[in-house]
Symmetry: C2
Subunit: 225 residues, 2 copies
DNA sequence: CACCTTAGTCGAACACGTTCAAAAACCATT
DNA sequence: AATGGTTTTTGAACGTGTTCGACTAAGGTG
């Protein structure tokens, strides 16, 4: 779509204009005509670089993922408790996405559609999914928590799912300063760590085995990293 | 919106036309003009009865909810174990919605948007939400499971959330006969009952309290039924 | 330099959801 | 029957995302 450096510059200008307008007016109130105007190009040109308005969100999506990894790095280097690492990573994602809170709803509903190539569960986003799961594998691996091997094996995938739940909660969260989301993160991160470390209790052993078997059966080894 | 019986008939015709077209072409590919045409009314009339295209989905929802309640009745009358009742209700919802499986994806992504008036967590769907939560209250109340009072109080709401998770899984499920979803239901229903009945263990008491407090803090008493 | 290919640009036109003011049909009351 | 108010219906607009065919600019090739 953008082959020459001139094309690349135009593409960047369109994305930047969209970003600015999204921030100020939100996603829906921002028209493609306004984006084109601000970028100094014609309406048609915008569609030369981005096949649809939603594709501008997609660009934002990968943009945010990079920022998130950067935001995570310090806390992952510093913190060693599993709960602390989890909290840190989740807080980081909320902070990173905060400027786009209003846009996030549209992003989510776009991506939630099973037919969307960007659906987090779909085949086409395996790479991105594995990156995020890999992040949580790192969260688990370098923590000082002592976990059973079978739990440790499936935990990253489950934490990835957990992150998606938290993000959806955040999208819906209208509380000032997004305090509800922060409370949710603090409480659930703690709860998860507590439950995971209790998983060795004799009484929990059988449910744990079946639960993990279910996760394996569904998420399957085939598309594994 | 529909005061006279004639109005009621028109409203029904529009809904029926929408249903037919949704089934065949899906939600997005169905235009309001096509619906109006098929119903034999003008475009404007459709908007007299349904403020927006999305409101047709809402009607479909309550339509399906009625069918679901009917499909549930036998198993709820017969079955007394909590796990059996849960399984029954969830299988029933999957069966009921099956004719709309292909459409469900676009419906979901439309409804998942926080700005949509149909968002399940939003204010406008409180009535529908409480109906479903009420169904799960019935599932819990008339079962022979012995639950702590605090757990029993929050469980219906949590089961409603669980149902939404299962439904999203079902939407994504492309397996023949939807067998994966059925397996998920069987396993998780069992797992939930097991965990809930273990909630009285001394070691689980404190996490349980905090978890329930969190649910209360977030779902809140204010918009309670 | 002339030519050709391709990337980039443009803006008019289209389709669809939605709005609105006015017409028509309907119904109760006089 | 006539009147007045309410419900229902209509179709022409409007705004917006998207498409498309044509034009321009740039760069390589003989």
């Amino acid at each position: 779509m953008a082959v020459t450096s001139k094309g690349e510059a135009t593409r960047a200008a369109i994305f930047q204009a969209a970003l600015d307008l999204f921030r100020v007016h939100g996603y829906e109130a921002t028209t493609m005509r306004a984006i084109a105007d601000r970028a100094g190009v014609s309406l048609g040109s915008s569609y030369h670089y981005y096949p649809s308005k939603e594709h501008l969100i997609l660009e934002l999506y990968s943009h945010l993922h990079v920022l998130h990894r950067e935001a995570c790095a310090p806390v992952l280097a510093r913190e060693h408790s599993l709960a602390g690492r989890l909290r840190g990573v989740l807080r980081a994602i909320v902070m990173t996405c905060e400027p786009f809170h209003e846009v996030a709803g549209s992003l989510f509903s776009t991506v939630a559609d099973p037919r969307s190539p960007l659906n987090p569960f779909g085949a086409e986003s395996t790479a991105m999914r594995n990156q995020v799961i890999g992040l949580y594998a790192e969260v688990v691996r370098d923590s000082d928590a002592r976990l059973a091997a079978d739990v440790a094996a499936e935990l990253p995938r489950l934490l990835w799912l957990y992150q998606m739940g938290v993000l959806y909660f955040w999208i819906m969260d209208g509380s000032p300063g997004r305090l509800q989301t922060l409370e949710l993160i603090d409480e659930t991160a703690d709860l998860i760590v507590r439950l995971v470390s209790l998983a060795n209790l004799p009484m929990l052993r059988q449910p744990r085995r079946r639960a993990l078997a279910l996760v394996r059966a569904i998420a399957g080894e085939p598309p594994d990293n």
